[in-house]
């Protein structure tokens, strides 16, 4: 076995230091996430009032095409809106799965 008592610095201290940095990062992230979640909880009532009052059905994630802006409310043929058989050519649609 390696006798590491002659050398006071052990490599595991370095690993421990790295893990400590990761723990600090994790703690900061957890704190930020809680702050963000708290803000969203505070804003939930007014946002839900928006959805109810205006009859919103979709999130505003991208505005490049109608069927991407309104994923739930668009009709099925809107992907071919430019001409019959037109294919989906908008980059952002790679992000979403088309729901039949």
């Amino acid at each position: 076995m390696v006798n590491s008592t002659a050398n006071s610095f052990r490599p595991i201290y370095l690993l421990g230091g790295l893990m400590a940095l990761l723990v600090i990062l994790a703690t900061s992230l957890l704190w930020s996430a809680r702050q963000a979640a708290g803000r969203q909880a505070d804003e939930l009532a007014s946002n839900q009032a928006l959805v109810r009052g205006l009859g919103l059905s979709d999130l505003c994630l991208a505005t490049e095409a109608r069927y991407i802006r309104h994923l739930a409310a668009s009709d099925r043929v809107v992907v071919s809106m430019d001409h019959p058989g037109g294919i989906d050519h908008f980059p952002s649609s790679t992000f979403f799965i088309r729901v039949p």
Partner: protein, 396 residues
């Protein structure tokens, strides 16, 4: 630490494993960095999907119970507002609201705005609605009043102005006045929105007086939504009846690994891990065999050698996994998903902020562990055993 204690023994083996990794620091650092990168990529995508699904679940939980659209040749067209009277007679229907909405394309900037027009008295039913404004008020009874989302002033290049004009279909101008601005906190719903009165929306789109875009149906008993929807569809077969359940289902499935980007991420990551595992399973070099022979002569047991190999792989895999996962959280929380945002926005001229707070899900973490760390460790098993059973006299 006493040399004979079990913990001391394990710590000594970890020390030796770390020294061994440092001997080939270039290669091992590259493996850690690449491993971190692939875990970061797949975690970021997974966390973003989870965050968007959660946002949709909470915000759209109060979406309209039923939305009635008119279809013609498979496309949505305007519907006669007299249909509202017929729908109101269906048992279980509490109220039917008219709505005009559509898209306004600004040729100057190339931006698409969502225009929604509702009767001003409908807004009174939701007192909390005005809390979604950061300034001003909701449009009232005066013609030309509008409340706009955060991206609209930028798209219209309003600056400090509150008056602007929009084109009707016949290219005549309609004057608008911004009386309210929605807050950034509501941008996930209103970033591109121009909220007008029903009459102003009708004027802007030049719709006949007898038509609206769709009808919002409120049902007294949530359990009867599907029944009422079926009755509406039976009574008006040319309509599309969209229920709240359908909206919720859409947002449960629209984000996932089967999307184009998700598939690319998954295939890339699986390919990367296959390469890592193959590299690990390649076996020992002559130098490594010689090293193990010397260790065995010094008194290391087979189990110690196997532990050593596992610790070497475990340190690399776990360090990379934890780093990649935490960086993915930072990417979403602090970086607003900058890596995926260009793909998500595409050619959009209006660029709404991505407000997506990641949600920790143990199942997702375990899935990630299963496709990243476990295959890497599993690929170490056989080579570790082979290393453990080396006879010193065969290599020295």
């Amino acid at each position: 630490m006493p040399a004979g204690s079990a913990l001391g023994r394990y710590l000594n083996i970890v020390d030796y494993a770390l020294v061994g990794l440092a001997r080939k620091r270039g290669k091992n650092l590259a493996v850690v960095l690449l491993f971190t990168l692939v875990v970061f990529l797949i975690s970021s995508f997974q966390l973003l999907m989870g965050a968007l699904q959660e946002s949709a679940r909470t915000l759209l939980a109060v979406a309209p119970e039923i939305t009635v659209q008119q279809l013609s040749a498979g496309r949505q067209v305007n519907l006669e507002k007299s249909m509202a009277g017929g729908i109101e007679t269906i048992p279980g229907v509490r109220r039917v609201r008219e709505r005009i909405w559509g898209y306004y394309f600004d040729e100057t900037s190339g931006a698409n705005y969502t225009v929604i027009g509702v009767p001003p008295q409908d807004l009174l039913y939701e007192p909390a609605l005005s809390h979604s404004l950061m300034s001003g008020r909701l449009p009232g009874g005066s013609p030309g009043e509008t409340a706009v989302g955060v991206e609209v002033p930028k798209g219209l290049d309003l600056g400090g102005r509150s008056h602007f004009s929009l084109f009707r279909p016949d290219l005549s101008l309609i004057s608008m006045e911004v009386v309210g601005r929605f807050s950034a906190a509501s941008s996930l719903l209103t970033a591109d929105l121009l909220l007008l009165s029903l009459d102003d929306a009708r004027d802007l789109f030049a719709l006949p007086v007898s038509t609206v875009t769709d009808l919002l149906v409120e049902v007294a008993n949530p359990l009867e939504i599907d029944t009422v929807a079926r009755k509406i569809a039976d009574r008006y077969p040319s309509t599309r009846v969209l229920t709240r359940g359908r909206i919720e289902k859409t947002y449960k499935v629209v984000f996932g690994w089967r999307s184009g980007l998700g598939t690319v991420c998954l295939v890339t990551v699986l390919g990367a891990f296959a390469i890592f595992a193959w590299d690990k399973a390649q076996g020992l070099s002559a130098e490594e065999r010689r090293e193990i022979g010397i260790l065995k002569m010094l008194g290391w047991q087979t189990g110690d050698i196997i532990l050593l190999r596992f610790f070497e792989s475990g340190v690399v895999a776990l360090l990379a996994f934890v780093s990649g996962y935490l960086l993915a959280w930072a990417h979403l929380l602090w970086g607003q998903g900058w890596l995926f945002r260009p793909v998500m926005l595409g050619w959009s001229v209006l660029r709404p902020e991505l407000v997506a707070t990641p949600v920790f899900a143990l199942w997702d973490l375990l899935q990630l562990l299963a496709i990243s760390v476990l295959p890497y460790l599993a690929a170490t098993a056989f080579p570790a055993w082979r290393a453990g059973v080396i006879r010193p006299e065969s290599v020295l």
